[in-house]
Symmetry: C2
Subunit: 213 residues, 2 copies
DNA sequence: CCTACCGATCGGTAGG
DNA sequence: CCTACCGATCGGTAGG
């Protein structure tokens, strides 16, 4: 569970009596905090992590830079929140999809999931994929570990698809990375008004899983 | 033609008589200059463009930062040189491949070209694909124009492949971007000691162009 | 949530 | 190709 999720567990809880507890931040606080993450991912996407300033992020929310520190501990912390959100979105339903028995349907579900997830939030994944260098200390290893877990699901699905003659035999690790690549690259060229995430997901599936012979 | 190429046209020229012309830099100068570009692409790949300092680039060549200014005009100029090299490598043989008549063979050649080119220099293309935000002024538009030209070759090849029933019918622009994506993503996971560019290129072709029915 | 400010980093230059 | 240095930017904090 990400710290973003952890901090929002109070949302929807019953009205509490007496002095409000400051350990459980208000809904408005959480909403604003999520907005900081969204806005920052847009700024960092356009300018890069280092060049994108907290002044810009703040300005886009009609705030001053200092006020952002009410929501995040530091710029590096903000970046970590972006990464947590991206990896959480990726891992969210993957267990469920990985439970699909039929190898072809399972691989299709995984490809579709990756394509849709990235295409639905290109800015988020632009930062996730392109600005990992900004992470500090343990964050790098934490993200890498979660990403390896994610890759594993794909590798297993690819292996099973090869056994079922749904994919040509090849190095499963390489194939998995390549399939993730084809469905992730969309954040580089996606135009949200012109391109539809579901159409793109269909396309990826179509290119890799041609009709059975 | 890139400024990198333009500046190196003296290489291999006959020994000149009289006072050496300073307009035609020496071979050693050009070699060193190319090394700056290579080293910088490694540094910027790891740290990002803004976080990667000229001190680091210089140190990796046993120089002081100030000495780099003998080879490049500015940090932004250095970044432009990296981009020029990447786009030149990409465009180098594409005209030749695009002359292939058979749609299947042509598309295969283009995919193979992209896969090999990127896999042969992951650091160069990591900067090219992930740190475009560092470019200033006209450089952004210049690179974008060359990239559109490159994409066009792919789109035409994809259209012809669809007409020849080598690819399923779909939006050619989207398919071209996706094929470029699958063959470019390799810079993200490539391990030069473990992964072979040609094996990877074969894999991409195999995944997209299954044996004719 | 703000104004005002400090301190470190780093691109770039002077001058040799 | 170097030493020494300047100047701008920007993350972060004090204090309210």
């Amino acid at each position: 569970m990400s710290s973003e999720q952890r901090a929002s567990t109070s949302a929807g809880a019953a009205r509490k009596r007496g002095r409000p507890r400051h350990e459980q931040p208000s809904q408005e606080y959480e909403t604003k905090r999520r907005e900081v993450v969204s806005v920052a991912s847009e700024v960092f996407r356009m300018q890069g992590y280092d060049a994108g300033t907290l002044d810009e992020v703040a300005a886009a929310m009609n705030l001053r830079k200092a006020s952002l520190y009410y929501y995040v501990k530091s710029k590096a912390d903000l970046l970590r929140l972006i990464f947590d959100r991206a990896i959480d979105r990726s891992l969210e339903q993957i267990e469920e999809y990985s439970a699909i028995e039929d190898p072809r349907n399972r691989l299709e579900a995984l490809i579709r999931h990756q394509a849709r997830t990235v295409a639905n939030d290109p800015a988020l994944f632009a930062v996730f994929f392109d600005h990992r260098a900004g992470l500090e200390g343990d964050d790098v290893a934490d993200i890498a570990a979660k990403e390896r877990r994610y890759l594993r699901y794909f590798i297993v699905a690819v292996e099973d698809a090869m056994d079922a003659n749904v994919l040509p035999k090849a190095d499963p690790r390489m194939v998995a990375a390549t399939l993730i690549g084809m469905s992730s690259w969309v954040y580089k060229w996606m135009d949200p008004v012109r391109d539809d995430p579901v159409v793109f997901a269909d396309l990826c599936v179509q290119l890799i899983l041609r009709p059975r012979d």
